[in-house]
């Protein structure tokens, strides 16, 4: 028996009983919780059955993985350090230029896709669907297409990132424009400014810090995606990485992965700094 309740335990139990509804969720919430968790579990079982997951393969696979991991140490460049460095440079170039080109295309288009600056609802609808379509195709598939157009090499990767990110950035930019405060634009118009001046002086100062932050974030995430685009021959470190995995040179895989980790960490650090500088400036002005 709980010593704190002492002789009054029966009373305490009665009080607890009276206020039971405070401690327990309502019947409706409980049923909903139950239905949701049961649904998730049932769908998981169905998925496992549909995909015919081979559970007997898992143990064999794990031992194979363990072997791969032991093969990774010590990491070695395999005497291709210059090649790897060049590939890493290509990866950075693809991420930077891809994002830059995507920004150049997405920025003007995003005004057409935002409800407060578009020319006509029909234009807005068309541009939005255009963004949706090119966004739903992964950069890797665009890379396959562009390898066919401009040949193997990083240029195909740049174009692939540029196209797929035009859709993603366009959507984000147009959302930033839509959520901007209308007062800035209205006051420029009220003081006799043109529509262009209203956008330039009433809208842009509000959205530029947001947009700059998003661009930085995209460069960061594109460094990650540019590391794999090489698998289809579109430049960057992915080509070496996929070849090394196929030929079981896991010490070199480990080396390349460590290079990627370090590069991404450096880029993250720089963009964190820049983002802080941009947001800091917005807080000041």
């Amino acid at each position: 028996m709980n010593p704190l309740l002492g002789a009054n335990s029966e009373q305490a139990a009665a009080i607890l009983d009276r206020h039971r509804h405070l401690f327990e969720a309502s019947a409706r919430a409980r049923t909903r919780g139950f239905v949701v968790s049961f649904g998730i579990a049932a769908f998981t079982v169905f998925s496992v059955w549909w995909l015919a997951i081979p559970f007997n393969e898992i143990l064999r696979g794990l031992t194979a993985l363990a072997k791969f991991i032991t093969l990774m140490f010590p990491p070695s460049s395999g005497g291709h350090l210059d090649l790897l460095l060049k590939a890493m440079g290509e990866t950075l170039a693809i991420a930077f230029l891809g994002t830059l080109i995507a920004t150049i295309f997405a920025f003007p288009l995003s005004f057409l896709a935002a409800s407060n600056t578009t020319l006509h609802p029909l234009v807005r609808f068309t541009v939005r669907r255009f963004f949706d379509v090119i966004r739903s195709i992964d950069a890797l598939i665009w890379a396959l297409v562009f390898v066919g157009v401009v040949g193997l090499g990083p240029f195909a990767g740049i174009l692939a990132i540029a196209v797929s990110d035009t859709g993603a950035l366009g959507k984000l930019f147009s959302e930033a424009i839509e959520s901007a405060d209308e007062k800035g634009r209205v006051s420029v118009l009220a003081s006799g400014g043109t529509d262009f001046a209203a956008v330039r002086f009433g809208l842009l100062p509000q959205i530029l810090p947001i947009i700059a932050g998003q661009i930085l974030y995209f460069i960061e995430s594109n460094v990650r995606s540019a590391t794999i685009i090489g698998i289809v021959g579109a430049g960057g470190i992915g080509l070496q990485l996929s070849e090394q995995i196929r030929t079981y040179d896991f010490d070199q895989v480990a080396f390349a992965v460590i290079m990627i980790l370090i590069t991404v960490a450096i880029i993250d650090w720089i963009s964190d700094r820049l983002r802080f500088a941009i947001i800091g400036r917005r807080a000041v002005t």
Binding site: L51, L97, S136, I141, P154
Partner: protein, 294 residues
Amino acid sequence: MPSTIPLVSPARLDSLVADYQRVIRRRRRQSLLVLAVLAVLTVLAARIGEVDPSNLFDNISNFTSYFGRIMPKLGTAHFFADVADWYWNATGWLKLLIDTLLIAYLATLLGAGGALLMAPLAAANLAPNAAIRWTAKRIFEFCRTVPDLVFALMFVSAFGLGPLAGILAIGIHSFGTLGKLFTEAIENIDMKPVEGVRATGSNFVESARFGVFPQIMSTVASYALLRFEINVRSGSIVGLVGAGGIGQDLFVAIRKFYYTDVSAILLMIIICVIVIDLATERLRHQLSGQGARS
């Protein structure tokens, strides 16, 4: 009634204008500096990236004609027969598309579940000690930085061809990204309920379960849905390395120049992705509405 507008003395006005222009000049200098850095980086990146606009313009006809070639030949005379011809393998592709969705579902579940269990160890306000926190953060970072296709390639070698490799690869990647987001969500919670639970003598697991999770559940669900959306896209490409889903057929169609197959599969993926986007957006709005109310 005569009213007087207070006038600024000319000397004061001059100094104000000078100040204003100094600020403007400084801002211009800053912008120019940023532009110059950007220009240098662009030229450098263009050299490394072997950018060749003339090549693009010479071959842009390949690009447009490619889209011309992948367009299905649909006539009004035998429209339905043409569509049937275009989607000759509709049931096969539909099965692969469902595979893709289920791969994304299982991977999201795996990643979100794992991330939810480990995030309390990585959050500054809950982590038992600095060493555990540092380790957990580095594990998340590793999992999200190594591209999912690299994991997929390795898992295909280890577990053989099939969806298992894709699920694990996308799952590990989701684990890394969601882990970071969940950690941030936990760092933003109100600590009072946690202290309350702790005051009753709970251990780490109990205080996480009753003090932390109820606060972050709607955020977690919303992030997991967003991740599911992204994972459907990833699920459509892991097939490129043999890790299941519709990517395999798409890859074969592109490589072997089965033009109309490319457009048929792409259209299916696009529609599927857009539908999933819209559906999860609805769900997320509902969730955030609930979070605001409770």
